[in-house]
């Protein structure tokens, strides 16, 4: 569905995105585009949504270059960052114009508006002006405009920015529902927790470079320089004795009632740990991975490339 082949983007002398290569397959699902401010997320989204041509390399969406390509643009929906909308304008008038710009008209447009407003739960409030809407409601309307023409690819730039927790959860549920129904969703954020709650598939950008792509677990396994930390809770002395005999052990730290071990290949160690615990060989009460989450992966990657 999306192919970047050494695609880069320059803003004059400033490199917004270094030559980047990746592919996103056909079909539904959510991919998180993660990176701190200035990482190149918006640059990448500008390339994918056809707003700018790449300065180098190639970008293909649905097999074609998206820049000024109506056949590609008609198949994607964009929700840009920010929530500024003309304050005196009613949502339905705004949606009608956006729908017409997508090529809808007449009864088809009416049906599309009803469907999109129904999806975002705003069917009975679309007559309100934007000045009378909360931030969450405005974000839902922005999502509705992107859904009017039933895009196969939905691109959202920082969609959770400024939303309260309830509105955030509602929007996440909406996106998951859309993904389950077959829409490919690419959502950018600089907040790890948001992406971690939403999806396991990530593209990690840092300083204009794509550092990693894949699931959090896959990426974590590739970080050989940072052994996985596991907390083994139980009788600490006995657990430490068992751990030091394991060839994968890189480091060990004693805690009160637990031992924290760093291992290089947890996939090899864990079956043996499981077997030893099942046979009563070690007094293990609990096992907690400490740095298998997105937060740790992000920190390791950005630290390595800083």
């Amino acid at each position: 569905m999306i192919t970047l082949d050494r695609a880069s983007l320059r803003y004059g002398p400033i490199l917004g995105l270094s030559p980047t290569t990746f592919q996103l397959p056909e079909g539904g699902g959510i991919t998180g585009l993660l990176g701190p401010n200035g990482a190149g997320k918006s640059s990448l989204l500008q390339l994918l949504s056809g707003l700018l041509p790449p300065s180098g390399g190639g970008v293909k969406v649905f097999g074609e270059a998206p820049f000024r390509n109506p056949s590609v643009l008609a198949r994607l929906g964009l929700v840009p960052e920010g929530d500024r909308l003309p304050s005196g304008l009613s949502a339905d008038r705004w949606l009608r114009m956006m729908g017409e710009l997508s090529g809808l008209s007449g009864e088809g447009l009416k049906a599309a508006m009803a469907r999109a407003l129904g999806i975002v739960g705003m069917a009975d409030r679309a007559h309100l002006t934007f000045s009378r809407m909360s931030k969450g409601m405005r974000q839902r309307i922005r999502l509705a405009q992107a859904l009017l023409h039933e895009p196969e690819l939905l691109i959202l730039d920082e969609p959770f920015s400024g939303l309260d927790p309830e509105a955030r959860l509602t929007l996440m549920a909406l996106l998951r529902d859309l993904a389950e129904k077959g829409t490919r969703i690419l959502v950018s954020s600089h907040i790890l927790g948001e992406i971690a709650q939403l999806t396991d598939r990530i593209l990690l950008l840092f300083r204009g470079r794509l550092l990693a792509e894949g699931s959090v677990t896959e990426i974590r396994q590739l970080l050989d320089r940072h052994p996985v930390e596991l907390r083994l809770t139980g009788e600490a002395q006995a657990l430490a004795r068992w751990a030091v005999e394991q060839p994968e052990l890189a480091a060990l730290r004693m805690e009160d009632g637990a031992v924290v071990i760093s291992v290089r290949s947890p996939r090899d160690l864990l079956p043996r740990l499981q077997k030893a615990a099942a046979e009563g060989g070690i007094p293990l009460r609990a096992l907690d991975p400490l740095d298998l989450n997105l937060d740790a992966v992000f920190q390791y990657l950005t630290k390595d490339h800083a």
Binding site: P25, G27, G28, G29, S42, L45, Q46, S49, G50, L51, L52, R68, P70, L73, A74, L76, G77, L78, P80, E81, G82, R84, L85, P86, L89, R93, M97, M98, E100, L101, S102, G103, L104, S105, G106, G108, L109, A111, A112, Q145, L148, H149, E150, D157, A179, E180, K181, G182, R184, R201
Partner: protein, 286 residues
């Protein structure tokens, strides 16, 4: 792992609607229609139009009623006659029209800049030229639509009252409509170019008024210093008023043909260029 939907509903029927430029123009017209701004200007233009029509009737009375015959000579010295009268059908509305164009046109592009609407539009099958065409089309159609009754109603009134011998020439629409078109495009391109340089609608109004009055003052100063009348071709207000005079063949137009053509081409060219540059996709920020 991505989740694939077993079946997908049929995609909506796209490519059924109007061209994007037309959709955007209609949206701007609807927005203007709902604004209260139209009440004041509507009243002011209506009063002017009534005065024009009344003038035709007065002229008719002077010609046909014996009781008014002694006033004929006086009226001829006070009221414009001949080609000047034909051109004057449009001119008194000029300043008010410029003000309306500044007020409405100043926000046309600036409002989209403020609300960051262009990234959204360009992410639809809307090309930058569609956007520019819509804005220029709207900003030019607005003064043209307002001027239209000024050209047609007095003409129609004159025809009804006195036939081909009335005070308004029978061929006036053929002369005034092209003049209105040129003046309207001049006003529209200047408004859109100025608006594209502003970040808010209010700033856009300021830009339009600043450019109109600024270039006008500059041209007048240079004219005064050098004595070269052709410099008035840089004054957009004078240009807009000169076109009807040129088309009806006034003996001493405000600006001669060549400076008018060059000045109008300069303004339309430069402000359209500015607007095109400022509304490029690379100027929008997601």
């Amino acid at each position: 792992m991505p989740i694939y939907a077993p079946t997908l509903p049929p995609a909506p029927d796209l490519h059924q609607g109007h061209p994007p430029a037309l959709v955007l123009m209609r949206f701007d017209f609807t927005r203007l229609w709902r604004q209260k701004i139209g009440r004041f200007f509507g009243f002011a233009f209506l009063m002017m139009l009534l005065w024009k029509v009344a003038r035709i009737y007065v002229d008719h009375l002077l010609q046909t009623n014996q009781a008014f015959r002694p006033m004929q000579d006086f009226a001829k010295t006070v009221l414009t006659q001949g080609a000047d009268f034909q051109a004057d059908l449009l001119n008194p509305a000029s300043y008010l029209l410029w003000f309306l164009v500044a007020l409405v046109g100043g926000g046309l592009v600036a409002r989209d800049t403020l609300y960051r609407v262009r990234p959204l539009m360009y992410a639809h099958p809307v090309a930058p030229k569609d956007y520019l065409l819509a804005k220029l089309g709207f900003a030019s159609a607005l003064p043209f639509t307002i001027l239209l009754p000024f050209a047609l109603l007095p003409w129609l009134m004159s025809l009804l009252l006195a036939g081909t011998s009335g005070p308004v020439w029978v061929t006036v629409p053929l002369r005034l409509l092209p003049a209105m078109a040129v003046s309207s495009v001049l006003m529209g391109s200047l408004a859109v170019g100025a608006s594209s340089m502003a970040a808010t609608p209010r700033a856009g109004i300021g830009w339009v008024l600043g450019l109109v009055l600024g270039t006008g003052t500059l041209a007048t100063m240079i004219h005064g210093l050098t004595g070269i009348r052709a410099i008035d071709g840089l004054n957009p207000v004078m240009l807009a008023e000169a076109w009807p005079q040129l088309f009806v063949g006034v003996e001493h137009p405000m600006v001669a043909w060549l400076p008018a053509v060059l000045g109008t081409a300069f303004h339309i060219g430069i402000w359209t260029f500015v607007a095109a540059r400022r509304t490029r996709p690379s100027e929008v920020v997601i």
